[in-house]
Amino acid sequence: MHYTELQVTTNFSFLRGGSHPEEVVEQAAALGYTAIAITDHNTLAGIVRGHVAAKAKGIRFIPACRLNLLDGPSLLAYPKDRDAYGRLSGLLTEGNMRAEKGQCHLYKADVYKYAAGIQFILLPPDTLNTQFDFDTDFKSALQEYKQMFGKELYIAAIRSYQSDDSKRLFRVSLLSRQFDIPMVATNDIHYHNRGRRELQDILTCIREKCTIYTAGLRLFQNAERYMKPVHEMIRLFRQYPDAITLTQKITEVCTFSLDTLEYIYPEEITSDGRSPQQELVELTWKGAKEHFGDEIPEDIRKTINMELEFMERKNYASYFLTVYDYVRFAREQRILCQGRGSAANSVVCYCLGITSVNPREFKLLFARFMSDARDEPPDIDVDFEHERREEVMQYIYNKYGRDRAGIVATVTQVHWKGAVRDVGKAMGLSADAVDRLSKSRYELTPEWLEGKSGSSEGFDSNDKHLMKVLQLTEEYIGFPRQLGQHTGGFVITRDKLSDLCPILNARMEDRTNIEWNKDDIEALGFLKVDVLALGMLTCIRKAFDLAEEHYNLELTLANVPQGDKAVYEMISNADTIGVFQIESRAQMSMLPRLRPEKFYDLVIEVAIVRPGPIQGDMVHPYLRRRNKEEPIEYPKEELKSILDRTCGVPLFQEQAMEIAIVAAGFTPAEADGLRRSMATFKAKGLVSQYKEKLVGGMVANGYEEEFAKRVFKQLEGFGSYGFPESHAASFALLVYISSWIKCHYPDIFAASLLNSMPMGFYQPAQIVIDAQKHGVEMLPVDINFSDWDNTLEERNGKYYKVRLGFRQVKGLKEGEMRVLVGGRYPSYKHIHTLLDTGISIIALEKLADADAFRSIGLDRRQALWEISSLNDRPVGMFQGQPSESAAEQPVNLPKMSASEHVLQDYSTTSLSLKAHPVGFVRKQLFTGGILSARELQLWPDGTLVRIAGLVLIRQRPGTANGICFITIEDETGTANLVVFKKLFEKYRKEIVRSKLLMVEGKLQREGQVTHVVVKHCYDMSALLTDLGTVKEEDSLLQTISCSSEEDNGIYRGKNKKSSVSKVIQGEIFPAARDFK
């Protein structure tokens, strides 16, 4: 006798199942099952994983689903064939689409509609009523189901050691006989082994939002819902042996396998009845003529032919045409886009306009990325302007319809922080303890477990309750938490997408996605296309528009002049604030050392400051070799062809993988598997296995072990932050273009960058200061001159003046400001006319705060004084009459000092064109022996210096061993600080809290790069807050204080300024940006 488990709830029934589909399938194989079904609740999200695992173990997998209905008892559904599967998927799609994300509303009538070819098992209620019988509701539903499904209906018999098991089985068998519904045994599995019961209980608590102590009867009373050996199942059902045999009947009938799902490209991508390949050939040559002229150079012709022939062989034409289709749409709509990825760097893609990287100029040959040996599907990510990507997505939905196009899901996994929070809460820890625990992970090391090291939060490894929390947390990590939507991966099919996989509503409006993620799709051989968003493209688009309007230039990504010496000079000087990718502190310190001279240098620059090369310790060897401080040599001659373009040092992911193939004897598939396994931390256990194979293989082939280990480390780094050459090349183009704009048109660059905010590393203030440094005149926000966006005004010498727009003022609304601009004929003379135009008092106050009334002769204080009296403006029939305030006597307002103005500027627009706040305290700083940022250049390496400035950025990269990098700014420029881990701990408060930070440290200069290695930190923010308050006149001494003799100093300071002025002003300076 044999048995097949037909009722399995995995963790894809979120917060119900306690095991991964893979675990269940593997356990089944281990127990000698030959087939297994997975029946998650109203979803098919987990079946691909089950399918892949079952395939690996050589057992049959039955894709199935449990249908929880809103108006009837639940059913298990097993499609018999491909068509029935399509119907099941369609049924779930219907249920998903009418509900919010994460829910599926199904009714009996829906099931009847899609029932053909599906076997159903009816699930009886868990308990009997007081008469030891099923309720009549259930019985009548059963009769109705029988009528609708006939021979396809079974009824489940479950024995999970409840008190009424035997009575219930008896009742089921009676019903079975009475209505001729065969009774089939299932075990209602919720976890693959008994040990998971605790976690499953915790999941129940998380689901029910209670703690384990209050969960009570919502938990299962025993641990019997685990996978039992076949003989045990047979013993449990010894009185009903037919129930066991029947499982085999269902197994035999349901022959559908996910392997038979076939992906078919949509038809719309071809025209005039051509085949996809013909269409691709046609379009490619047409594009080639546009790009290269009628006389296509011979080498290009040869390459195109070669590529086209390769694509035909691999049958990729449809894929390229699909991508071409929406790229063409974007170009028609003037949406900038740029393709990247292994296949994007082909001449064909260049001809189709998918990429603007001219493969001819940069010698990035397709063949390097694609070959017959590597059986990877093509992969093209296309970036679009972030503000307009939605248009492209909606184009795809509209063209193919929502039933044929959907976004791939991302299965969000539970990570440590979330896991420990949920588990901790369910285990009854206080919110505070949970909070502390979730931040202490780095301290809970093996040493801590052995009691050798403590925890700063006082967690004790002898605390059993805590250890249980941690154990359950470890088990819970990696569980799927929800189906999110992929950032932009689309699946488009010829027929209904819902035939392949259920579709569901995404959280965002107007988006629908499928239930499977990209790994699932890949496992089944579906192809997806990526439609991604990139802020820099928005910025470049805006810059191109401004260039056309003001400089009469018609720029595209492809026609920006390449190889401009001035641009490379600027980049080499690390003058790259705001530029794509190479604006970070780490990148900027690398630039002067690398001194890029040609496009390929930029490709390297983009890829080199990445965790992969840094962890693999590849950066310094490369720099030495490039600067000819070290000879270029190859570990072995066979690697020369792989490594010669990077001076013999592997920097790109492709190179590391090629080394694995050439030097360690990996097959291409293995090398790819290696890269992938690095990415998923679930597979962490497997890493050492690969390490042995890679390092061992290389050593066996005569490589030095040290080199082999470095290659492996680099691969490890790539796993999580893959940055292959093919992507770097595309990014490098955007780096070049943004640098080119910045170099030649800093006015346009600043305006378009500010108009695309928020993006990049820097605050508006830094971008404005940087533009001013480059000779651009910046003009303040003004009611008579500004637009919503930042705009260019008349030309002043080389560049146009940039007028700051209303978007820089916090809290203004775009629509209202458009009204303001629209009502400006020819200019505003009085504040109350603004009010009459329909601008609210609140907006006027914000404009006053931003000092935008200068053109009518009012400073912010006077403007506010006027505005605050507008409340009693005559209305109704008296509208237009002068208000009472017109008659009031003029009042002398206290005059505002320059420093007060600057602080106000900062608090409303995060920047000031008047002065830099640190300038006001320069005198005090000077007396304290504190240098300005510019003066740092005057001192030699190793000098002890003091420097102070506003904190712009604090950064503690994971690769830097706890070192904190801080950038501070004063009125003369910026300075870079390095704080080592120990000092960071010591001065944590100062570093985290200070707006104005003063440090003492040692100057360190390497080439053009200057740092201060910090020794001491001081918080001097009080100096700045003092700027905002006038000196109090009552400097009389305190006679008898309010709280008798001693009024402690703490309280005095607080009373006087900080607490009071803070309440009033709010935070003046924008918080520094923190990057982990």
Partner: protein
């Protein structure tokens, strides 16, 4: 009840404002002396975040202030100690302090959430002048561990401002409040933050910057509230406060002309007192739950008896019955000269309940309650137990003792599971003959007697609640022996894996 200032020609009004600027943390240190000078905060969840509600002075020095998110404070000081704030504690505490202050003046009012206002008109001379008076109050409060700032002035507004923002002197001589207010920031006038924000932007850092502006100009820009607060602080307009008053305890007194020594006399006194008290309770819509009858003996010793009821009542005869049983425990000695009846616990009892007494529905319940009251008086209330179901699968934990007879039961008794009428508090060992692995026993020996099992149902497997206790699971069986008696048996653990033992855990009816 509002308390109004009354014009007194000869003596002006004087007020003290006492500001407890670290009220909660001071209180916390009082109860946890180890925290003295330690940086710690009291927190409470607020819209999904944990917000600091109070910070100790040592934490304040580091820049940790109320209103911050705990996570931010931890960024400054990882070792910061964090405690949960009990939300009701602060009001209670301030009330207690206010009551304590009544020794200085009968009129004490609460001021926002962390201060007190005392109307001290005509009080200070008893302490030797305002300076001594103020010193005394501050010193006393300090000795309790509270840091305070306090100030005396003619108006509530002025002393509030000086206590919080004053820098020169704590005592503002009569009529001098205007001068004292001039250098203070506008916030000292108790204004809204948006008004303050606007004032700050306009550069009005001190009250003197705007105090002399035309009223119309000010009113238009800052609303009438500014003028009102200003006038209050200057004493141009009166301000009312709401004094707290100690709650009158429910107590009735009956002095007797001659010492009473007989039970009859005591009963008359008791009845008399009960009637007076119950009339008062009726007027206030209350009923008592606990009453104490005290008799003061001529020799100064006190005799007392106490009763409790299961529901609020003001029924004289019922209460008398309850007392009656205990009257013989009073030893009158040489005689009782004063009788007191106190009701330390009273609850709201509405009129409707009163009229339903003993008439219609619910009367059965009342009768039971009255019966239980009487049994309780006889055998002690602790001998009466009530059990309620509890949400646990594990049988021992599936019932619990009710805290009181009134306790509302949110759960219903489950009827879908076979559970014995009598559950043994501790399962008792039995010996069995049973087929393995999990079939019911064929016979078992309990207390030396062998029972042959005729019918059986089970097993029902119940697993240990792992978060409370570790151990083997139990397989429960309902069995019937040859006499027809039914038992609830279980086996601990599985054959083959553990060494199972058998127990009897209950009996069915």
């Amino acid at each position: 009840m509002k308390y109004h200032l009354e014009e007194q020609p000869d003596m002006g009004k004087r007020f003290i404002n006492i500001w407890f600027h670290h009220l909660m943390t001071d209180w916390f240190v009082r109860h946890n002396p180890g925290l003295q000078d330690e940086p710690f905060v009291l927190v409470a969840p607020d819209r999904g975040r944990v917000i600091i509600k109070a910070a100790s002075p040592a934490a304040g020095v580091l820049g940790i202030e109320p209103g911050m998110v705990v996570a931010d404070a931890r960024a400054i000081l990882p070792s910061l100690q964090v405690f949960n704030e009990e939300t009701s504690r602060k009001d209670k505490l301030l009330n207690e302090l206010a009551e304590w202050c009544i020794r200085y003046t009968p009129i004490v009012a609460l001021d926002t959430s962390d201060g007190l206002i005392l109307d001290i008109s005509g009080c200070a001379h008893l302490w030797g002048g305002e300076r001594q008076y103020l010193k005394e109050i501050i010193a006393k409060l300090k000795s309790f561990g509270y840091q305070v700032r306090a100030a005396i002035a003619d108006t509530i507004g002025a002393c509030w401002a000086i206590a919080r923002y004053g820098r020169l002197t704590a005592i503002i001589e009569p009529g001098m409040q205007a001068e004292a207010l001039l250098p203070l920031p506008p916030v000292a006038l108790r204004l809204d933050t948006n008004v303050l924000e606007r004032m700050h932007k306009l550069g009005f850092y001190q009250i003197r910057s705007f105090v002399s502006m035309p009223h119309n100009t000010l009113k238009r820009r800052f609303g009438p509230i500014l003028l009102e607060k200003l006038a209050q602080a200057l004493g141009e307009v009166e301000e009312t406060i709401q004094p707290i008053r100690p709650v009158q305890p429910y107590q009735e007194r009956l002095p007797s002309l001659e010492p009473i020594r007989t039970a009859a006399g005591i009963e008359i006194a008791l009845k008399d007192l009960l009637e007076t008290l119950c009339i008062r309770l009726l007027q206030e819509g209350k009923g008592l739950r606990k009453a104490i009858f005290k008799g003061c003996r001529v020799d100064g010793k006190m005799q007392q008896i106490e009763i409790g009821t299961n529901h609020p009542t003001r029924n004289v005869s019922h209460l008398f019955k309850l007392f009656e049983l205990k009257i013989n425990t009073i030893r009158p000695g040489l005689g009782l000269e004063l009788f007191l009846l106190e009701a330390p616990v009273v609850e709201i009892l509405s009129m409707e309940q009163e009229t339903l007494w003993n008439i219609t529905k619910g009367s059965a319940n009342k009768v039971v309650m009255n019966l239980l009251d009487r049994i309780g008086v006889r055998v002690g209330i602790n001998a009466i137990h009530r059990y309620l179901p509890d949400e646990h699968h594990w049988p021992e934990r599936s019932v619990r003792l009710a805290a009181s007879l009134q306790e509302k039961n949110p759960l219903i008794w489950r009827t879908d599971l076979p559970r014995p009428v009598c559950l043994l508090p501790l399962p008792e060992r039995i010996e069995v003959t049973a087929p393995i692995p999990d079939y019911p026993p064929m016979l078992f020996r309990y207390k030396g007697k062998v029972h042959k099992v005729r019918k059986a149902d089970g097993p029902e497997r119940i697993e240990q609640e792992w978060w409370l206790e570790q151990g083997l699971h139990r397989d429960y069986y309902c069995v019937e022996d040859d006499t027809g008696a039914r038992y609830w048996l279980f086996r601990l653990g599985n054959y083959g894996e553990d060494k199972p033992e058998w127990f009897v855990h209950g009996f069915f009816a």
